[in-house]
């Protein structure tokens, strides 16, 4: 058995270096893209872009802001009952994940604009489950 260890280790090292290089390049580019995106959206809204349906502020940020308590922004045409239901759903999810009550707040309620309707999504999930 005659193994050329020199070239074997060359493959090992160049392989890992190239894989890391390629993926580090992607890390940097995606980070740059994320920065540009947040700059672009940051000009329009104040602060972070809100979640489409019922944005919940991060648990850590909430206590500082809770003193001010800004009014909830509600998109036109959404009734009080719907807001109550959404708030209840948020509360149920958050308590299931272990967040204490009062550590978060529903700041705004907007209609979600989804690329795929809920039924199409359900159909796709059913079709793709085996994979």
């Amino acid at each position: 058995m005659n193994v050329d260890w020199m070239s074997a280790f060359t493959v090992l090292i160049t392989g890992m270096v190239v894989v890391f290089l390629a993926l580090i390049a992607l890390v940097l580019l995606i980070m740059a893209m994320g920065k540009i995106m947040s700059m672009m959206t940051g000009k329009g809204d104040s602060g972070k872009p809100a979640e489409p349906k019922a944005p919940v502020s991060a648990p850590k940020a909430a206590p500082a802001k809770s003193e001010v308590k800004p009014a909830m922004q509600v998109e036109d045409g959404i009734g009080d009952e719907v807001i109550a239901v959404i708030s209840a759903a948020v509360a149920a999810m958050m308590s299931a994940e272990g967040a204490p009550a009062g550590s978060y707040a529903v700041k705004s309620v907007r209609r979600a604009r989804e690329a795929r309707p809920a039924w199409a999504m359900a159909g796709m999930q059913q079709n793709t489950r085996p994979f």
Binding site: W5, F9, M16, V19, A22, L23, L26, I30, M124, F131
Partner: protein, 376 residues
């Protein structure tokens, strides 16, 4: 006249499989039955293992000659899609349609975990050389550690086509065994404190970012490693179909009908490369052993790099997500979730682990490109 009938019947009997069966073919048929059992009863990657196992059965039928090497047989023509490197990129197209790169875009650092877990490929390459394989064969065996069936088949079909059967069987069997192979390694390499890290919520990713991502990855990866352009390009085309939201019909076809058709062709023709003279060799046993080592090394490299990120991030990264860097989407991410949840039941690592998991797919495609470039 009577003697003619006897003669004809005699000829039919002599030409039948019963009289021409070699013991090796019998063993191969038994092996294929075990694999069919594993696919059907145990659910080991049945979508691919079942066609592969039946392809093995077909290839080892005496006299019929239904294998991938016999020019003129049905399977020979189907096999051309493997030989010419057509099926694996088409499978990647479908996978791209089903993959959400959101967690990776939200936390791009997980790319590094996807890269680290490819260490298993290159370490096993060295191991395979030491066991006496040629560099081309060793590269194909190492790629099993990428835990990515199409990538393994694509690389092997270029570097060492005679090993396709053994490598495909090893790759898909171990992918099915990820939930058994990974947890002990993950637990051995991490402390209870590390496993208990709860990671913060991922940021929301905009649609524009999701559309730019596949285009950017295709350009960057294909410029750097042109040999992986076929795999990465098709993966990203599928993803662009999905994220653009503009071509729902194409997305549906690529991820359902096209993918299923190609899966059948790929499975049967790869299985049919495993004729007894190619499969019943000592090298198959070595490949199966090395494949397991590749998986273990890949998992270990991912977890160790995760530990590194844990240290550098000041304890914010749970090292368990590192093991998901070996691809095997989404099984490996689910394993991270499960092991993490054993320590802290309310810990949801799944989305965090999906980042390295899909990065692993890109990482193993890049690693395959590097191996093809150097060894091809």
């Amino acid at each position: 006249m009577f003697s003619t009938i006897i003669n004809t019947i005699g000829e039919i009997i002599m030409g039948s499989g019963f009289c021409n069966l070699q013991w090796e073919q019998f063993v191969m048929i038994l092996i294929s039955m075990v694999l069919i059992y594993l696919a059907v009863a145990k659910g080991y990657e049945p979508l691919l293992l079942l066609p592969i196992a039946f392809g093995m059965l077909l290839a080892n039928l005496p006299v019929a000659g239904l294998n991938s090497y016999n020019e003129g047989s049905l399977i020979y023509y189907l096999y051309q899609g493997v030989k010419l490197g057509i099926y694996p990129p088409l499978i990647f197209l479908g996978i791209g349609c089903m993959t959400d790169f959101g967690p990776l875009i939200a936390n791009p650092k997980s790319f590094l975990l996807g890269a680290a877990a490819q260490g298993g490929i290159f370490l096993t390459f060295i191991g395979a050389l030491a066991l006496g394989f040629t560099p081309q064969e060793a590269g194909s065996i190492g790629i099993i550690g990428g835990a990515d069936g199409p990538t393994a088949i694509f690389t092997t079909s270029i570097l060492a086509p005679h090993l396709l059967g053994s490598i495909a069987v090893a790759a898909y069997s171990y992918m099915a065994l990820v939930p058994i192979i990974q947890p002990p390694i993950m637990r051995a390499l991490t402390t209870k404190k590390e496993r208990s890290v709860v990671m913060g919520q991922l940021r929301q990713v905009s649609k524009l970012e999701k559309i730019v991502f596949p285009i950017m990855v295709t350009i960057v990866v294909s410029f750097l490693v042109p040999d992986s352009a076929a795999l990465v390009g098709m993966l990203m085309l599928g993803n662009l179909f999905k994220e653009s939201g503009a071509v729902d019909r194409l997305t549906k076809t690529a991820q359902n009908e096209l993918m299923n058709i190609v899966t059948i062709f790929l499975g049967v023709s790869v299985g049919a490369t495993a004729t007894y003279d190619h499969f019943l060799t000592p090298s198959t046993l070595k490949i199966i052993a090395l494949g397991l080592i590749a998986f273990c090394f890949g998992t270990a490299c991912g977890v160790l790099f995760g530990k590194l990120m844990y240290i550098f991030s000041g304890g914010k990264v749970n090292p368990l997500i590192g093991s998901a860097g070996v691809s095997a989407v989404p099984m490996a991410a689910r394993v991270s979730q499960k092991v993490g949840q054993k320590e802290v039941p309310t810990n949801y690592l799944l989305m965090h682990a999906m980042g390295p998991n899909v990065a692993g797919v890109i990482g193993s495609a890049v690693a395959a490109g590097v191996l093809i470039n150097i060894l091809g």
